[in-house]
Symmetry: C2
Subunit: 334 residues, 2 copies
């Protein structure tokens, strides 16, 4: 049975959303889920979900790393925090995958320190599965590494390609480099160097892409440094949220449009579902020697359940093995 450890103290609504998500996943999937965190609080939360599935257990951790704590310092100091304990379980191979909706920086730091990086990988990157008009796309890096080197960008391309191929089922995934224009001559020295590395990488590199190419779906992987990726990701969420708010306000402004909104409600819901990160199961921390999923702080129980589902899929499909092989092939070529 696949064993997954979940940070029960991770989400903004911890342990409520985390524990309920674990219960939903334990009922639906044949995984063993270990809830890591304050035993008393977790037990109390589990009381609400009787009968508690037998494939759920608790691993006590006395500390919590808050959302705004400095990652490196907090990982070093809080050795019994849920995030550090989670990473130790992965390091000791007591679980096959770990999932947390907690402090992203701390999770990146703890997982990298404890599990180490895959052979040939210099930095872990956060891969985000995003919706497009033609199905899901992976953007990497969503913010694990804001001081990236061109070689990191190449490695992100290799890792996300493997993810796209083996998890999302894309044949020969098209990889684009996020830049300010499509021409090869565009961008900073950093981007030009990353371009040339990707061009000679053997990946299906389609050249520079722009912010406007998000959601179009003509690209299966978009690579960028963690600063740009983080802004792109958060702006996406912000636009979607603002449009929804504006539309709600407009729809309430007249009787006819209110009736219209009621009739069109299913369409709205269906669109929201297609744009919903919760459906896609969170962000992948690619590059660490283990399977690590980072959920959104505002994760709902459904989002936690989906993150657990995806974690199990990654274990079964062994993406890391494919990444290691892809890196090795490129090394031999040289």
């Amino acid at each position: 049975m696949i064993k997954i450890a979940l940070d029960a103290m991770g989400s903004d609504n911890a342990p409520f959303a985390d524990v309920e998500g674990a219960v939903l996943a334990a009922r639906e999937f044949n995984y063993h889920i270990t809830l890591v965190g304050n035993e008393g609080l977790i037990k109390k939360e589990l009381e609400k979900h009787k009968p508690v599935p037998s494939n759920i257990s608790i691993h006590h951790a006395s500390e919590v790393i808050g959302m705004h704590e400095q990652p490196v310092l907090s990982v070093r100091r809080k050795k019994d925090s849920s995030i550090v304990v989670l990473s130790n379980l992965a390091k000791e191979k007591k679980v096959d995958a770990i999932v947390s909706a907690g402090n992203t920086g701390a999770m990146v730091c703890a997982a990298t320190l404890k599990c180490k990086l895959l052979q040939g990988i210099e930095r872990a990157g956060i891969g985000i599965v995003m919706p497009t008009l033609k199905g899901p796309m992976v953007m990497i890096d969503g913010g694990a590494n804001i001081d990236a080197k061109p070689s990191h960008i190449l490695q992100y391309g290799i890792m996300a390609s493997a993810y796209s191929e083996y998890i999302l089922g894309k044949k020969s995934p098209r990889v684009g480099l996020l830049n300010v224009g499509e021409e090869e001559s565009k961008g900073t020295g950093f981007l030009k160097e990353a371009y040339s590395l990707l061009e000679s990488s053997g990946l299906n590199f389609i050249g520079n892409v722009e912010g406007r190419d998000f959601f179009v779906g003509d690209c299966d992987v978009i690579v960028c440094d963690g600063l740009v990726g983080n802004v792109a990701l958060k702006v996406t969420e912000a636009v979607a949220h603002a449009l929804e708010e504006m539309l709600k306000k407009e729809l309430k402004s007249s009787f006819l449009s209110m009736i219209g909104a009621m009739l069109a409600k299913n369409a709205f819901m269906s669109m929201k579902k297609r744009m919903d990160y919760a459906e896609y199961g969170g962000a992948q921390l690619l590059g660490v020697n283990g399977v690590c999923i980072i959920g959104h702080g505002s994760s709902t129980p459904k989002a936690i359940k989906n993150a657990l589902r995806v974690a199990g899929e990654e274990v079964v499909k062994n993406v890391n093995q494919h990444i290691v092989e892809a890196i090795a092939v490129r090394r031999e070529d040289k």
Copy 2:
């Protein structure tokens, strides 16, 4: 009378959209508009708008810089291109403002070369007026300068603050630095240096903001380098477009939701208008010694008209004078 030169060869639909926009503006505002570009093509286009307003004239330019031409090279080589001729008219003070929906990089380059920069400004920046849930906000730099230094970011803050105050009417505009998190310790060395410059600038600096703060409206100015700003801007457009497409598709999927969509149509239109760049009149090239507006390549006649309207407003309100004074005050403080 305010004199504005418009690149008639600028937009993707040139000279159609550009000329029609000029005619609309000439009829509505008390400006003299000089259309710069191929005289034969412009005359043919003007034929469609009889009677042609008397406050429109033509200034022939034999060349055009294409959307994909390399900015510096094309400005150097195509001395009789509409963009270079436009910039010369501004340099020679034959017009009060210039407007183009053509190659952004070439316009930045030509305007900087010909008009020179304002005293104390090291780099021009593109200021974009964006909608938020609480009114318009200025983001700078939208892509004029992708190799920015921290001092450029400070100057962007000063320029956009002046714009927000004198054009958008905000008192003591709140300035945020776009980063990956709100804490002062976040970001690259570059961002930390920019933070400290902004903090001691005397501007109403509210600290780091994130991509999720776009559209919320708790910030009047967001500063960032041109690479991050360009991605943020284009991602915004991409999300809005993708959501519209998804919603259209969903609304066509059932009879009831189609009826709903018809009833809710005014609400959609009103929302689209609030999100529409065309309403805001394009991007401001801030920092050059002159008024220069850069329109979107896909500008409609209405967008061109609004860009001309905003250009005139900037001339009247003399934003540049305010920028020069703000820079001078900060120099004296030191």
